[in-house]
Every structure is written in structure tokens, then in C-alpha cells.
Symmetry: C2
């Protein structure tokens, strides 16, 4: 035990606040005791020191606390009246989540449409004034200036006010729903920055969409409305206290995310499936209801708004922020076409994986080199200028003219074409991405030449790739769909050239290509099928879409992860996948657990508690009895668990026993409710204890979780993982056959090992954890 | 303890084989020790002796066994090659599940279509020969005779060969997927009887559909193909052994059920959602893939078959066995119509709940009075004759004629109408239910008068109600849709009369009515929306359908359970709902657990084991060490669990230690695989042990589950329930703080209490369990 003690004292000297450091040392001694069961040989020699998991992000605890206070509150809420009131309130809250998500979609849509209209109108007016001469650069400069200005504001807002609002937000929402408390992701300010930012970014002509950010916005609306609290006004709606716990909040956020999808694509069922497939890590029946209700209301709100502004009231059309329109030609397809679709799925998978890889390299470069706030803003402005300059130069250089009647674009530029013609590439580059998508899907076969389409695809691929990861709110759905629709239309064009009778409509192939490309990048097949099905308003397209997307997913998965998972990995988030690695069966609970653990006793002097926890600010402490050893890391029988948040609250409220055993103050449920979710920090509370407090005693029994789940130390990792993930735990004590605590497993411990197959050999590497800077 | 011992000895004398009887006695002593935590008052006086749970049906264990043999096998399967082979095999099996489910749908469709065609053709030929005179009774008799004959054969097959094939099969599949091993439900014979039976029943003119049975058929195909075993030939496909466990089998069955829905309605996504909402109690990502893949293939197979026989190859049309056709008028709707849809949802909910209640009363009557096989057959024949007679009399009595051009029916009867007219009610009653549905949805506004529709709705409501529960395979989807389409069309008709311009198409209301009625009866809202959406091939109908179905569900839920849950209750199955009752928080593990428990020791003499278990044939035994008491119910420290199946296998294979400690025989994984799922019965094995065997020792350590999940006795029922249900356990040991076994919780224990709110008071009743006769 000598070097164990050395290691321990080392940890103490440094005052390391994570479970993990101590463990690394301890485990070395322990693993020799319990040999691995497997028949495989593991090499554990060369660790990868560059694989990090962010220790700064904490997890949620979805297992309800079971102590006297919470149980009594649970019983009170189990009354018939409370249940009925709860259900009504839930639906009311969901209704408003849907309405507000729908309304934000309306506002975003309206703002982008109008800003873009004025922008394109002024630029095209200038272009029409100076079509031929050198003066053509004047509108170019104007366009570039407007775009850079808009993008610059978006980036400034994001960088200074809410850095977490950059990107699509889907990786963050995915982590949040998986149980990771991503900081500031659910703040009101984040949402406002996201909303304003996406308006500016899309109007600023970047290769971004507004659909991804809608999902983030919906989630924040849900989180905010369900908690019913205005922190800066210190106002809190009493009736919503039943929703103030991690579990309820998570469910509302799922519903909000789905409502966002529903508004973005007019796809309530798609939204539900998206939330289930991509987001919600925990699925149960009431949740599906909750989600669907909110999506329905959200979609309905937007549809109503659209019907008010565009057609007549209640005349609903399919689609949401983006709508594809009906593609009649997809109602039947023959065997050749099915083969083509599958082939396009392959292409989509390949091209998607390439996109992910390229973007991943770029993101890593950005993480290392573009770190200051001003650099981030400058980068965004540069990318915006590059985008505009590139688009304008191409429009100027590529003189491919088509009859004006062919296009459905709102601002077809004449440029150097004849009077009743337009510059075909301008209807792709000189309009909002949604309009470009519609033209690709619906314009007649000969509108665009193959060279125009090829240039468009290459340029847009490059632009989308460098844009995703900028410090602006940026959705990836629309750029992916555009790239795919572009190369899909090329294939359609080729087919049309070969056999104009059977392959009359390249729009069919454009849609399939769009699906393939998007599927290759994001890899959410099932929900995408339904989303695209609902966005086109046609069920028959479901089958070919599903086939294409499935192939794209499998192909892509062979080469890289999906873009969201890639970004989650790049941000070192400890996401728990649905199922553990199959080699997890070779590891046991004792391999995983962090150890030694800091224990508490049911009744203890505050001074003793302070001594124990001061340098060990873990997030959960087992409560034990009958420890036979006087050292602070001795083993005792597990009787409860208490989280650091609850302990901090206890100490802050001075819920002590006086020296003569009288209760000074008992916590009530209200204390917990008032504190949620911003419990006091344990470190701060400890620093504020007076000498009198130190002499008092603390009775943890009414406050600790009385009956924690625990696992025997011999349980395989596979089963530990299922227990941990299905129940949404945060701390899982490991006990021996006498129920004595041996260690503790947290979310990070389940990511402790990296299992790999390298040239037929099995490798298990233990990851090095570090707190992210 | 004296009366505990009395109770014990009483139990022993009777040789009671269930955990429960002993518990009843024991609990009385124990509950006094641990008082309830709640603030509520419970009355426990008047028990309901008529509420039974069927003890004969055992549960599955979805928690993988963790012992040396299974873990080693798991490690072997974790190799890269094995994983790849496993995934390929899985997809291959799923592909064939889809193909065979699709093919069975084709066969059923083809058979019903042709039998019905010949039947209706002959009867209508006879009717046209004797249209006016008294001779009209001749075709009536013929029709009645054909129908009774067909129904009679169907009932005979079901009653004598596979009683479990009666009804739609959905309640049974739901129970199976929930973890209940419903006997004989997955047998090949059951499937054949179901298939032949449904052909005969639908051709026999009963008010039944073929869609529900397709789900059962798909499930059986999945169970059979995934296990790759022909028991009567003693043939077993070695490569499929990886799928031979409860968990894999359950996942394949989910996929099969979804494939059934996909074939029935042409709705692959709907099938997935149906499997998730109604069936699969355990949802994870790979499962959704599995399910979707099989549904896609199944739908594709049927669509290909349909395109081959009806249009040209690969020209796909929406729908499966039933298709609704496109209802263009549903593409827009105004505010009044939305209100109407909601109102129709209310009507659907009411009428659905009434249906469920009436059918439930009838089923209870049947369970008591129609018990012999012959009575069941006679009942089916009587109902068939009544159906035919009623239909024929109505056709004869109601002389409502419409122009022949109005109908899309294949056999419009002229009866007493003019030459270019037809008897309008005949196109509803004198055709297959699918055709009647199409006519209701698509025939022009004035085809049917309100009186004709009213008569049809009333008659069909009555017939559907008495038919569901007969001993024939009978789906409930189509009858429900027909009833709803009927009264929906009445509403459409009224609206059309009021304002022919705005409400031009009663088909729109017919569809909404159909959805409302079906939703009111089965209460699966989400999946039904998608199913109906896919069956009509139109996405825009999604929103109104969803609204209607939601209202219908909520309305119906206020009055009764859904029909499937009602039938599950009537059959006393211990289904575990998604979430426990909210009052569960008032109960703790010690209230639930069965106690005393029969323990085993890690190493014990066979004779001692036999003595222990002979009269206590439980399904799982905790293995303990360090029991301090010599009585057989003393408490010891939990070190493992072993199921009766595995114990029986051990004993049957004589996996003993000889008296001098040598291993006589060690079980291998192959032994387990060969035995699955028909392990030897413990009782039989015990009876066959010789005197030599009795002297041997049994070392349970390599065979028991080393690290069972367990819960502390103070854990609330809510948390116990989540653990039990999410992990799909079968036995859950309850331990005290020293890890000593205090009791055991099984599925039935979670249904032990009936929580009720009666006039503002809370009541908890303890149910009496009994083995069903």
C-alpha cells in the first residue's frame, strides 16, 4: 500500500478536484487482484494522451431522489387533483411551447425574406444599370459589403454574448438530452442571439440554413417556458414547480426540439422521430405524446401564419420554413431507377463522409489557431466576403443563358444574356438557399447545363464546408440538400439526355440526391425520410427516400462518423451511445470504477465533513455506516447517496443539529425548489462556514437518497452500462458482496476505455481525462 | 415468529408451488415492521377476490445471464469477424422476414379476393335470375350456407388446432413483447391456422378484417426465421445461434409485427411506430433500424406483387392489403372544418368506448358460458348466419336506388331497382369490407342517403361488436374504419346539404370519421396517424388526422381502456405498463416482495437441493453464502441468482461434482443453446434423479448469474418498477443493507397492488393471485 499512499498524498497536495486522478493510481494496485475474464489479449501499453474528455461538463441525474422530503412531495402530487392539474398544465405548457416555436419560425422567416428581398432588389437594380462595363464591380462591392456587415454583426453577437449559439446547435441539444449539462445552452440570451444571428447569417448570404437553429431555439423556448422563472426579476411561477427537475425539463426540451423540426420542415411526425432518433436518449410512451403535441401545435402555428400571408386562411400547403413542393414524377419508378437511387445513396454516403472529414480537419485547425474573439469575428467576415466574391465572379464569368420562362427564381439576373433570357447560375447563387433548392427541384429539364450545375456543386460544397464551424448560427440541412440536389440534377440531366421519354424530370433525381447528401452528412435516416416525405407532401416518395438514405448511412458509417457525433467528439463531450461497445463484456465494474471514494456518515460533525470534502469536491458522496477503518477512505456499508448540490444546500441553509441534538433547521421541499437548478456551489458554501457552524452536527438521513441503485463489483461493463444509461444515473456506487462501497462509477468512467480492433487484434486503451481549458 | 412458522408449515403441507401464497402470510408480519411513508390513509379491508392475475404465464428474462460460460461466449462474439457476420446475418434474416410477411399478405389477399369473387358472382347471378318473386330467398340461403360453411371451418381449425389464433392477435403480441411468454403464440401451427382462418373468416362475410392477423402472422414468421430451427426434424441452423435468446427473439418479433403492419396498410413508417407505440416495450436505436428494414422489405414485396398483378411492374400505388386511395379534398380545410374534425374525434371516442365496454361485457359472458369446443364452433356459425341473414334482409327491405355510374363497387346489385340503377346499400353489405370502405370514401356525394348510411352504421356496429371475440381470426381495424367511415359520411352528407359549395366531398369526413372511430377503439394515436397517412398516400391529411385521433383517444380514455388493453385484462395477463401508477411511491420494495424465498448455496449436495426445491418450484433461486440460520428460509448474503431452467439443465446433464470433488461434467454453451427455449422442466428432472445422483455435489458458481441486479428493501415501488421494466428483468432480489436476501420481486409482484382514487380518497387493494384454471 505504500505507493498507493504516495499517490494519495500527491493528489491531496495538488488539491485535485476530480475523482479520476486518484483513481489512476489506485487502479494499478487493484487490477492485479481481479484478473480479466476474457480469452483475448489486450495491449495496454501505449496510451493516447491526446484523447480527452471534458471534465468541466457535468451530468444530469434523471433518477428521482428518494428521501423523506421528496417522497412526501411525490405522495402529495399523486392525488387525483394534482395529477389532473399536472396533466392540464403540461398540455398548456406544451401548447405555448408549440405556439412560441412556431411564432419564432414566423419571425425568422419574415425577417430573412424581407432583408433578402431588399438586398437582392438593390443589388439587381444596380446590376441592371451597369450590366456590361467595368462598373459591374459596383454592385459586387455593394453586395459584398452588405453581406460582410450582416455576417459581422452575427459573429460579434455570438462571440461576445453567447458563444454556445454558434453552429446548428444540434450537437449541443443531443448532448443535453443525453444527460450532459452543457453550460449556457438553455439560456434565454443564447436563444435571442441564435435567432437574430441566424437571420443575419442567412440574409448575409452565407451557405447556411435556418432549420438547424430552429431546433435549438425550440429547445430553449421549451426549457424556459416549462420552468416558469424569470431569474433576473426573481420571479417564479409556483404552479410550475412540478416541472422543476432534470427529468421533466429534459422531456420538455425533447418536445421543443421536435417543435423546432416541425416548424422548420412542416413535419410534426418527422420532428417526433428526429427527437427520438437523434435526441431523446430515453424513450417512453408519454414522452412521444408530449413531443407530438408540441410539434403539431408548432407546425399548425406556422402553417396558419403562412396561409395568412401567402394564400387564403386555413388553406394549408405542405412544408414549413422550407418546402419542396410536390414532385409528381416520383409517384412511380422502375427497376433501373431504383438501382440509380441506390447508387446515388452510395455517392451521397461517400461525399457526405468526405465533407465530415474535411470539416473535422478544419474544425481542429480552428480550435487550435482561431481562439481570440476578434479573430473569430474577422474569420466570419472573411468567409462572408469570400462567399460573395466567389458567387459574383462565377455569375460574371459563367455566361450560361436560359429562357426566362424556365425559372421560378424571384430575382433572375439578366447579366450579359439576351432580353428574355437570364443567367442560369444566378438563380442558384443570387437568392436565398431555400429558393435555390426549389429551382433545382422544379425548374424544367434544360434550364441548367451540366457545367453550370457542376460549378455550383463544387463551389457550394467548398463554401458549406468552410462555413460550418464559423462563430455564427448556421444550419447544415439546407446547404447539404442544395449540394445533393445539385449533383442529383446532374445525374437527372444525364439520364434525360440518354432517354428523354422515361426520365423526363431531373427534379426527381435532384430530390433523391439531396436526401442522399444530407443522409451522408448527418446519418439520421429514419427521421430524415419522414421529414422529407412531409416536406414534399407525398407519401410515395417515402420508399425510394428510405432506400437511398439507408445506403447513404451505411456507406458513410464505413468511412466516418456523422457530422454531429464528430463535433461532439471534437468538443470532448462524454456522450453515452445507445449501446456499449461489444468488447465491454471483457471489463467489470471494478475496472471502471473510480476509487478511492470520499464517504460521509449519516450523522457527522460539520468540521469533520468539511475536512473530508474540502479537497475532494466530487459531485456525489456515498453515505456509509460501520466503517471499520479510521482512515478517510475506508470501506463501509452503503446506506445512501447525497449529491454535492444537496449537501451544499444543507450547509448553506444550516440544516444542522445543535450540539445537544436539537434540530436547528429542517429543509423543506420549497428550499430545494427555490434552489433548482442553480444550487449553491459546495466550495463556496464550505468557505463561508463559521466556527460555530463547524461545531454543529449534520444529520444526513432525511436528506440523502435512502435507497441508491448499486452494482456488485463483478458485474460486466455491458450490464453496468445498460443500468446506468437506461435509468439516466449520475453516480452509481459499486459494492462488494457485503454491500461495502468499493468505488463509484460516473458517466466518464463509462467512457474510460477505448476498445479497438486493429488488424484482427483487440486493443483496449484507457483514456486520459483532463479538465478542458 | 410462531405464526410465521405455522403459515410456513401450512404452505409446505399443501405443497404450494407459487411464491405468492407463502408471501401473503409472511407479509402480514413484516409490514408492521416497516410502516408506510405516505401521508395518505389506505383502506385495505375489502379485497376484491375476483381480480386475478394468471400465474400460469411466465415472463422472459431480457437481462443477459452473466456467468463464466455466457461471458466467454460474449467475448468470442465480440470479435470483429463475429460482429460483422452477426450484422450481415441479422439483415439477411430481416430481409427474409420482410419477404415472407409480404408474401403471406399476397397469398391472403389473393385467396380472399378470389373466393369472394366466386361467392358474390354466384349469389348475384342467382339474385339477378330471381329478383322479384319469393325465390329471392334461394340466393339468400346459398349466401348464408357458403358463409356459415367457411366460418365453420375457420372456427373448427382455431378451436381444435390453435385456440390462441383467434381474434386479432394484437393483445397476445403486445403481451409477448412486454415480456410475457404467452403459450403457443409463436408456433408455426398457430400461424398457419391464423392465415387459413382469416382467409375463411373474411371470405365468410364476417365483420372482420385481415389486417390485425397480418401483424400476428408477421410476428410468428419473425420468431420462426430468426431461430432457424425445425423442431420436428430436430434440425437447427448453427449460424443462427447468436439469435437464440429472449432478447434477440423479442427484437425480431417487433420487426415481424411491424412488417405485418407495413404489408397490411402499405405503411412501413407506420409499422415502425405501431411496433414502438403498441408493442415494443423496450426501445433502442438499433431496434428502430431492425424494425424499419423489415417493414420496408415487406411493403416492397407486397407492392411489387400488386404492381405485377394490377398495373405495370414497379408502378407503385399507396396502400397495402387495404388502400384508401387519394382524397384530394383533404388538401385544404377551413376553421369550421377543423372544429368539425375535433367534434368527430369526440364522437369517435365516445362511440369507441361504448364499443369496448359492450365487447368487454360480451367477452366476460363468453368466458363464463361458452367454454366447450363445440359451443365455440356453433357460436361462430350462428354469428355468421346472423350476419348474412341480417345483411340480406336489409338489402331486400331497404330499396334505396342510385345511378349505377355512382358506385365503384365490383358487384352492385340491382335488386328491385331500375335498369341503370343499383341498390345502394348492397355496395356496402354485398362486398368485401375493403371494397365497402373504398366506396364510402370515394363515391360521389349523393350515392347513399342518410337513412341507408344510418342503417349500415348501426348494423355494422352491432355485428362488429359481437364478432370480435369469436373463435376465428378476426382483425378489428377494417370493421372500425367502416363504422367510422359510415357515420363520418353521414356528417359529410349533412354538411353537403347545408353548403354544397364548401363541403363538396363527404369522403373527407368519411376518412376523418373512420380515423376517429378506430382511434376511439384501439387508442394508438401516433401510429394510426402515420398508418392512415401512408395508406392514403397524402401527407397533408396528417394534421387533421392527428387532431381527430388525439381527441378521440383522450375522450375514450376517460371512459374505458383501449380494446387491446381491455382484452389483456380480461385474460388476466400481467402486462407492465410504461409507467407505474403515481401512488406507487407510497409502497416500498418490502411491501412488494414475495417472501420467504427458497435459497440455494454455491456448493450443495444434490439431495439437499432436491429437498429444498421439490415443493417450491419457483422460477428463480437466489444463491447465498453465510446463512446463519439452519432453517431453509434463513437469510444469507446474495452472491448470485440461478433460474429454474438453468438449474433443471444442470441437473438433467448431471453437471455434478463427484463425492471426492472431481467435476463429472461441465456444461458448455452448446448445452444451453441446444436446450433453448424448451428447457427441461425442473419438476420432471427432479423426479428422474437416481440415488447416486443424490449423493453428488453441485457447484453452482460457474452456472449462476454472478452479479445479479438487486434493490434495497426501502426503495420505493416507483424506482423498483423502472429498474425492473427498463432492464426487462424476471427476478429481482431484495436485500437489506448487509446485502442479505429479504425477498424477491417478480413481474406479478409489481401488479400486486391496485391503486384507486375513490371519491377523493385513496385506496390501495392487494390483489389475490391465482393460477388460472
Amino acid at each position: 500500500m505504500s505507493d498507493v499512499n504516495q499517490n494519495l498524498s500527491y493528489s491531496f497536495r495538488l488539491g485535485i478536484s476530480s475523482d479520476v486522478e486518484d483513481t489512476q493510481a489506485f487502479r494499478r494496485n487493484q487490477t492485479s487482484r481481479c484478473s480479466s475474464t476474457g480469452v483475448l489479449s489486450f495491449t495496454n501499453d501505449d496510451l493516447h494522451p491526446d484523447i480527452l474528455l471534458d471534465q468541466g461538463i457535468e451530468g444530469f441525474d434523471y433518477d428521482p431522489v428518494q428521501n423523506k422530503i421528496f417522497t412526501d412531495e411525490g405522495v402529495r402530487r399523486a392525488s387525483y387533483g394534482s395529477i389532473f392539474r399536472g396533466a392540464s398544465l403540461r398540455h398548456l405548457v406544451l401548447f405555448f411551447i408549440g405556439v412560441f416555436t412556431g411564432l419564432s419560425a414566423c419571425v425568422i422567416d419574415y425577417a430573412i425574406e424581407n432583408i433578402s428581398k431588399y438586398k437582392y432588389r438593390s443589388v439587381s437594380w444596380l446590376i441592371s444599370r451597369y450590366p456590361h462595363s467595368l462598373w459591374i464591380s459596383v454592385p459586387g462591392f455593394l453586395w459584398c459589403a452588405i453581406n460582410s456587415f450582416l455576417t459581422g454583426i452575427a459573429a460579434t453577437l455570438v462571440v461576445f454574448l453567447a458563444p454556445v449559439a454558434s453552429g446548428s446547435g444540434i450537437p449541443q441539444i443531443k448532448c443535453y438530452l443525453n444527460g450532459l449539462n452543457v453550460p449556457r445552452v438553455m439560456r434565454c440570451l443564447t436563444m435571442i442571439v441564435k435567432g437574430v444571428g441566424v437571420i443575419l447569417a442567412v440574409s448575409g448570404g452565407l451557405a447556411v440554413g435556418k432549420e438547424g437553429p430552429m431546433i435549438h431555439i425550440g429547445s430553449v423556448i421549451a426549457a424556459g417556458l416549462s420552468q416558469g422563472r424569470l431569474r433576473f426579476l426573481k420571479y417564479s411561477l409556483g404552479c410550475l414547480k412540478i416541472f422543476r427537475n432534470d427529468q421533466e425539463k429534459r422531456d420538455f426540451v425533447s418536445a421543443g426540439a421536435a417543435a423546432g423540426v416541425a416548424a422548420a420542415f412542416g413535419a410534426p411526425v418527422g420532428g417526433l422521430l428526429f427527437a427520438l432518433e437523434e435526441g431523446a436518449s430515453f424513450v417512453y410512451q408519454r414522452l412521444t405524446w408530449t413531443i407530438l403535441f408540441a410539434s403539431m401545435v408548432s407546425m399548425f402555428t406556422l402553417a396558419l401564419f403562412k396561409s395568412l400571408t401567402r394564400t387564403h386562411v386555413f388553406k394549408f400547403t405542405p412544408g414549413g420554413l422550407v418546402s419542396f413542393g410536390t414532385i409528381e414524377s416520383l409517384n412511380d419508378y422502375n427497376a433501373y431507377e431504383i438501382l440509380m437511387f441506390l447508387l446515388m445513396g452510395l455517392i451521397g454516403g461517400l461525399s457526405g463522409a468526405l465533407f465530415v472529414k474535411a470539416n473535422s480537419v478544419l474544425t481542429r485547425y480552428r480550435q487550435k489557431n482561431i481562439t481570440t474573439k476578434y479573430n473569430k469575428i474577422i474569420e466570419a467576415i472573411l468567409v462572408s466576403s469570400l462567399t460573395t466574391t466567389l458567387c459574383f465572379s462565377i455569375m460574371w464569368a459563367v455566361r450560361d443563358c436560359s429562357p426566362l420562362a424556365y425559372t421560378s427564381s424571384s430575382f433572375p439576373l439578366k447579366m450579359m444574356c439576351a432580353d428574355n433570357e437570364f443567367n442560369s447560375i444566378s438563380s442558384l447563387l443570387f437568392s436565398t438557399p431555400e429558393c435555390s433548392l426549389r429551382t433545382l427541384l422544379h425548374d424544367p429539364p434544360m434550364t441548367y447545363s451540366i457545367s453550370v450545375l457542376s460549378i455550383f456543386v463544387l463551389v457550394y460544397y467548398f463554401l458549406a464546408c468552410i462555413t460550418y464551424g464559423l462563430s455564427v448560427p448556421a444550419g447544415l440541412f439546407i446547404p447539404s440538400l442544395l449540394i445533393g440536389a445539385g449533383w442529383g440534377r446532374i445525374i437527372g440531366h444525364l439520364m434525360h439526355t440518354i432517354d428523354p421519354v422515361h426520365f423526363s424530370d431531373p427534379g426527381k433525381f435532384a430530390l433523391i440526391g439531396a436526401a442522399a447528401q444530407l443522409g451522408g452528412i448527418v446519418r439520421t435516416t429514419l427521421s430524415l425520410t419522414v421529414i422529407l416525405m412531409e416536406a414534399t407532401g407525398n407519401v410515395i416518395v417515402g420508399l425510394p427516400l428510405l432506400m437511398t438514405l439507408t445506403v447513404a448511412k451505411y456507406m458513410g458509417d464505413c468511412l466516418s462518423e456523422g457530422i454531429y457525433d464528430e463535433h461532439i467528439g471534437l468538443n470532448s463531450m462524454a456522450l453515452l451511445p445507445w449501446t456499449p461497445h461489444s468488447l465491454s463484456i471483457t471489463k467489470r465494474a471494478y475496472d471502471l470504477m473510480s476509487n478511492p471514494v470520499v464517504f460521509l456518515y449519516p450523522i457527522m460533525r460539520v468540521s469533520e465533513l468539511v475536512e473530508r470534502v474540502t479537497n475532494n469536491l466530487h459531485h456525489g458522496f456515498p453515505v456509509v455506516v460501520g466503517s471499520t477503518d479510521s482512515s478517510r477512505f475506508s470501506y463501509g456499508t452503503l446506506v445512501g447517496m447525497i449529491s454535492s448540490e444537496h449537501l451544499a444546500l444543507l450547509l448553506q441553509k444550516r440544516a444542522f443539529l445543535s450540539k445537544d441534538g436539537n434540530i436547528v433547521y429542517s429543509l423543506t421541499y420549497k428550499d430545494y425548489d427555490d434552489a433548482y437548478p442553480s444550487y449553491p456551489k459546495l466550495g463556496d458554501v464550505l468557505a463561508n462556514l463559521s466556527c460555530d457552524d463547524m461545531d454543529a452536527y449534520l444529520d444526513l438521513r432525511p436528506y440523502m437518497c435512502e435507497a441508491p441503485y448499486s452494482v456488485p463489483e463483478t458485474m460486466t461493463m455491458t450490464r453496468v452500462y445498460h443500468l446506468f444509461r437506461l435509468l439516466g444515473l449520475r453516480h452509481l456506487p459499486v459494492v462488494d458482496s457485503q454491500n461495502q462501497v468499493r468505488g463509484i462509477i460516473t458517466r466518464k468512467d463509462l467512457r474510460r476505455f477505448k476498445f479497438e480492433f486493429v488488424s484482427g487484434e483487440y486493443r483496449v486503451e484507457e483514456l486520459i481525462f483532463s479538465r478542458k481549458m
